[in-house]
């Protein structure tokens, strides 16, 4: 089973018809943590958690595709922990982000994610 973990409404709306969506009402790190928890439960990553050269916490949005497996996938675990480490290096850059900019970040996350679907 494949599952999309995202806090991006654009991704949720585009893929909810034919994908399992785990929608997160939280920031970038909350999505990583939710993905990590799924990995603990046996899921493995299909997309890289740091996709895009837009930095964590610069963009508020993150979408990750995982699939169910058996047992803990150590490469996925290592990748998500490294992503969490990287995320901690970048403070949230725009606490009050203009709507137009938020929309641009949402679009970038959506297009990068779509390139993997």
């Amino acid at each position: 089973m494949e599952i999309i973990v995202t806090n991006n409404p654009r991704v949720r709306d585009a893929y909810s018809a034919n994908h399992e969506i785990h929608f997160i009402s939280g920031d970038f790190s909350c999505v990583l943590i939710a993905a990590r928890d799924l990995i603990h439960k046996g899921f493995r990553l299909l997309t890289h958690p740091l996709s895009g050269s837009v930095k964590p916490n610069e963009t508020p949005f993150k979408s990750i595709l995982l699939c169910s497996g058996s047992g803990i996938d150590l490469p996925s675990l290592s990748m998500i922990e490294n992503a969490l480490d990287a995320c901690r290096k970048f403070p949230i850059k725009y606490p009050e982000m203009p709507d137009a900019m938020r929309d641009d970040f949402s679009l970038i996350d959506y297009t990068l994610f779509s390139s993997a679907i």
Partner: protein, 426 residues
């Protein structure tokens, strides 16, 4: 493959009634330039400016930097598959308008990239403070979608570069160099005792604003393949990447790749430069596995004794870098990787988002998180309002005196992962 490159040194650049190149001075007709840009109906307005080394000018947000070149003899034309027909390039004769550059700017998304300061402390961090720049500042038609805007901006820059390059077709070069790479068989026969070394060039390929094109093909849709050094010099690879200014490879970088030039310099003396493996940096993990498998397979196929791997970008390309490194090393081929670091503002954090014990040789382009204060300059070309939204800028980073404090990642080319920068710890 053999390419003769004639370098025409550009001494000055100015606007004039007609476009021409005379005695190393580029005269450019703004009307002719405008027509070239505005032939794309998605661009509503264009302004041209000249920025020279030492000027009190800040250019931002920079999208691409392109060196004007023209094919003088031999098959194909410059930027094959994009501006010229898709014919294989890299042989014959090419002229380079050395010391000049086309810089494109225009706000594509609300957060944007890239500062070039032509003077002051920021100028030391970007190689494009040393070039005579024609800046092309474009405004799109209202409501244009971001991906169409990026395409329009990218193509206009290449068209302008091709037009300016054409002015040098009949000029007499100040310097001529011949670059030649033998076939596999010729190389083995000619240099049987020299170590066989290849360059593995990683291309950013993740999606909108994160793309690279090879002969016009979006690199994310390619498998790892082999390309010759001289094809790069004729513009076989162009940049569609406008994110992460400090470590993105502009089209100028691809044309002047320093790893390629250094390996050619040592070719036949210290080593046998076998060729270049290009490989992508996709989002999907299976793509990463496939591309790095193919990279290692090609490295083995070429019977390499060593490989240099350069990365583009930050974050998930670290994973491609490490996959390439460890899989090539596992074939018994030593590697050296070139990257940059996001080690936090104090430099104490882990530099890369991935690692492996076999990555034992690394060259760094510097710490992109390091802070720098850029004083106010007299003139801004582009849009300074985006500076606090540039990667590496932050809210409230502009002081009352007009100076701005940003991380090095905001400066175009500051920590380039081909090593195309002037600063060194040596």
């Amino acid at each position: 493959m053999k390419l003769e490159v004639g370098y025409i040194d550009i001494r000055d650049i100015c606007f004039a009634d007609s476009s021409r190149l005379e005695d190393g001075v580029l005269y450019l007709d703004k009307n002719a330039l405008s027509e070239i840009v505005l032939e794309d109906k998605n661009i509503s307005k264009v302004e041209f400016e000249i920025a020279k080394p030492g000027d009190s000018i800040r250019i931002t947000p920079v999208k691409d930097v392109i060196e004007p070149r023209v094919k003088v003899e031999g098959p194909g034309g410059i930027f094959p598959g994009v501006i010229s027909k898709v014919t294989t390039v890299g042989s014959g004769k090419t002229h380079v308008l050395r010391g000049s550059a086309i810089v494109t700017t225009g706000k594509i998304v609300g957060f944007q990239e890239g500062i070039i300061d032509m003077s002051g402390p920021g100028a030391d961090y970007t190689p494009f403070s040393k070039t005579l720049n024609l800046v092309v500042n474009m405004t799109p038609v209202e409501g244009l979608a971001q991906h169409e805007h990026e395409h329009a901006n990218r193509m206009a820059g290449l068209r302008i570069a091709a037009y300016v390059g054409e002015l040098g077709k009949n000029a007499v070069p100040d310097e001529t160099r011949v670059y030649e790479t033998p076939s596999i068989k010729e190389g083995l026969e000619k240099y049987p005792d020299l170590p066989r070394v290849a360059y593995i060039e990683m291309l950013q390929s993740q999606g909108l604003m994160h793309d690279t094109y090879v002969y016009g093909v979006d690199a994310k849709r390619t498998l790892s393949t082999i390309i010759t050094p001289t094809e790069l010099m004729d513009g076989a690879i162009i940049s569609g990447n406008c994110v992460s200014a400090c470590d993105k490879n502009t089209t100028y970088h691809h044309l002047n790749n320093p790893v390629v030039h250094d390996l050619l310099e040592k070719h036949g003396k210290e080593l046998n430069f076998v060729g270049i493996i290009i490989t992508n940096e996709n989002v999907y993990l299976a793509d990463k596995e496939r591309s790095s498998d193919w990279t290692a397979k090609l490295a083995e196929f070429l019977s390499l004794d060593g490989a240099i791997i350069s990365q583009e970008g930050f974050g998930n390309p670290d994973t491609d870098l490490i996959m390439n490194c460890k899989k090539v090393e596992a074939k018994g081929i030593p590697t050296c990787i070139i990257t940059d670091e996001y080690a936090g503002r104090d430099g104490s954090s882990q530099s890369l988002a991935d690692a492996d014990a076999s990555a034992t040789a690394v060259v760094t382009g510097g710490n992109a998180n390091e802070l720098i204060t850029l004083p106010k300059l007299d003139k801004v070309i582009g849009d300074l309002s985006v500076v606090d939204r540039i990667a590496g800028g932050f809210n409230g980073n502009m002081a009352e005196d007009g100076s701005i404090t940003v991380e090095l990642q905001a400066i175009t080319g500051a920590t380039n992962e081909m090593g195309f920068n002037k600063l060194s710890a040596r």
